[in-house]
Symmetry: C2
Subunit: 428 residues, 2 copies
Amino acid sequence: MKKEDNSFVLRGAVVYSGSETELMAYEDAFVVCVNGVSEGVFTELPEVYKALPLTDAGGMLIMPGMTDLHIHAPQYALRGSYMDLELLPWLNSYVFPEEASYADLGYAKKAYEIFATEMRSGATARACVFATAHQEATLLLMEMLEESGLMTFVGKVNMDRNVPDYYAESTEQSLLATREWLEAVQNKGFKKTRPILTPRFTPSCSRELMQGLGKLAAEYDLPVQSHLSENLSEIDFVKELEPDVSCYADSYLRAGLMGKDRPCVMAHCVWSDETEAEMLKDNGAFIAHSPESNINLCSGVAPVKRYLAEGMHVGLATDVSAGTSASMFAAIRNAIYASKLRFRLYDENTAPLSFPEAFYIATKGGGAFFGKAGSFEKGYLFDALILDDASIPTARTGLSVSERAERFIYLGSEQLIRAKYVSGERVF
Amino acid sequence: MKKEDNSFVLRGAVVYSGSETELMAYEDAFVVCVNGVSEGVFTELPEVYKALPLTDAGGMLIMPGMTDLHIHAPQYALRGSYMDLELLPWLNSYVFPEEASYADLGYAKKAYEIFATEMRSGATARACVFATAHQEATLLLMEMLEESGLMTFVGKVNMDRNVPDYYAESTEQSLLATREWLEAVQNKGFKKTRPILTPRFTPSCSRELMQGLGKLAAEYDLPVQSHLSENLSEIDFVKELEPDVSCYADSYLRAGLMGKDRPCVMAHCVWSDETEAEMLKDNGAFIAHSPESNINLCSGVAPVKRYLAEGMHVGLATDVSAGTSASMFAAIRNAIYASKLRFRLYDENTAPLSFPEAFYIATKGGGAFFGKAGSFEKGYLFDALILDDASIPTARTGLSVSERAERFIYLGSEQLIRAKYVSGERVF
């Protein structure tokens, strides 16, 4: 076997999602990475891998790197502020002014450096990232993320209506700038950073803009990310703006921004009705479940358990800065919290998310948007975290690996990540 | 003015609760402590205090120390485990076996040392603490807390029914052991650690035990802590066990464990009806709002905003280990989260908690159980935290002190506490 830099073996207490509901846990096992791809997990190391360099994590937890399916890089500086508002006033009062400041490349550099540094040091291996409407600042962000070690989709945001003048684009400008941005990205030759079309959401994108973006999606064969059915006032607004769609999702579908051959991520889907859920399912759309965001903006809670039961694609997202934390560990906790209150206070027919289910959406669920990612099963892109859970003191002994994983997610933090690998490359 | 060790001045960006809804914030101010008590906040230092030693926090945030109104010390080792259960099965499967292990003083020492060390390093200045049924281990915990710098009430737990044999006491044993424990505490001469009577909750305390404890409360003039109306199955169980009470709270009231002259803390009060809320109000009972616990065990969410509007005493609590985190910063966040989902999903007539309101219950609200604590107003016991919020990077500049405080609570952690004072004594 050819020995390469990204071919190696890790040894430790291994945990990953076998399925939506099942956590696979090994007290002492070997995870094998060959050319950036997992060969699987072995309790005894097969002879054929014994020549590979081995890192013994000394019994520490080894789990897959996580996927943040929805995060706004230019809102990172706003985290933890003005959390007493709902979606539309919050956007108008704080988010649009902040994003507009990325016209200044000096500010963009300062702010995106902080973002990229923190993403690098977190549990996130892969992410779908919103930038701003500015093509230069978006390119700058992509350059920084290319250096961060993460695998990302990054989108220049499009919007031509219901946005303050200081930040709005005309339909034509928006499409032209997007094409220029796509051409510039092609010239950059990024290896880890890919473009994704990013109509902000229907309230801020005219039908013409959506159709133009749909054509670009086809021409450049691009995935799409946007927002969907987050807040009840937003949904009413969409009905008013687009009275002829069958549901909010249809405003994307009819423009070619969602479809069986058009990978897309829709953030939130808190209030999707049956028509919409079916449309998402039929078109293989990914739901970026953003629990902390949906709590902070009083949006509600998506019925994740039901979406999973229906075989839909669900991933987890931090949605900074409607979510205050870019921590995927916190996002897992928040997904469980939100599902429990949804169950107790709103709909006792939809059970809360169990720990294995929340862990699944954070890893394998969202990872699927990037191909095979978020698991250690054979053939998966090798993303891994080594976690020092023993640094969280307890008097108890003899915890199982599953118990240790649950405990780490509740009590751990990014400071306890001792190593991070993305596609077999060691990030730190 | 006599200069003492616990007379000094702090300078920095000062924030505290003026009232339930109002945050007082000073960009650059002096907080004066004389003999452990606040003299107030001054934008210019009065001449009379200029001889006191001054610590300049270099613009860091200075906020009051916090009160954790309800935490179970012997459950600290269980944090972050088995969070997929509701109250009664969780108690029987995990909590009772864990607590029973404190019969072993060696285990108790190991576990309580971790607890006391982490309480010392956190934002909590004052706490109401449940121990176990064991008098020796409870004394040991009190000795450790006496050394921790915190001001605490600590209770030996009482329970004589519906508890597994390996952990139950007889009524007589329970009362005798409590008296012995109280006598032993008196002989210890603690300065910071006071006893509090602690019937676990009505399901595990017979009427005879409650009445015996009520007599002890009167004889030793003791406060009381217990649980109330946390979970719907628990409430049904109480109705079955005590069919002649007017509400769950009445089971404490009729035994003299609550009353106008009997300070008491009741954890949860998630499902208190009008009768019960009125009884709590009339008797000046403190509600220990435990949002993370109430989420984790799918209990529900207490209508804190309504309780505050009705002029009831509400403090905040972590309720480890039904709450996974002993962090009061996390508890403030969780109080806001829970209130927002309660508002959106259950009762749109009760508004969510604002940041100032959640901050209030964490400081001045719960602090009132200890007298005047949790504020920098003149005459308050001087509990303070110095917080290094500048270590949380952001590209934004010119944030107000209120904005910095909100941001710190959402993004900060115990590691960023640079100094902690309790009653004017520097803890670290």
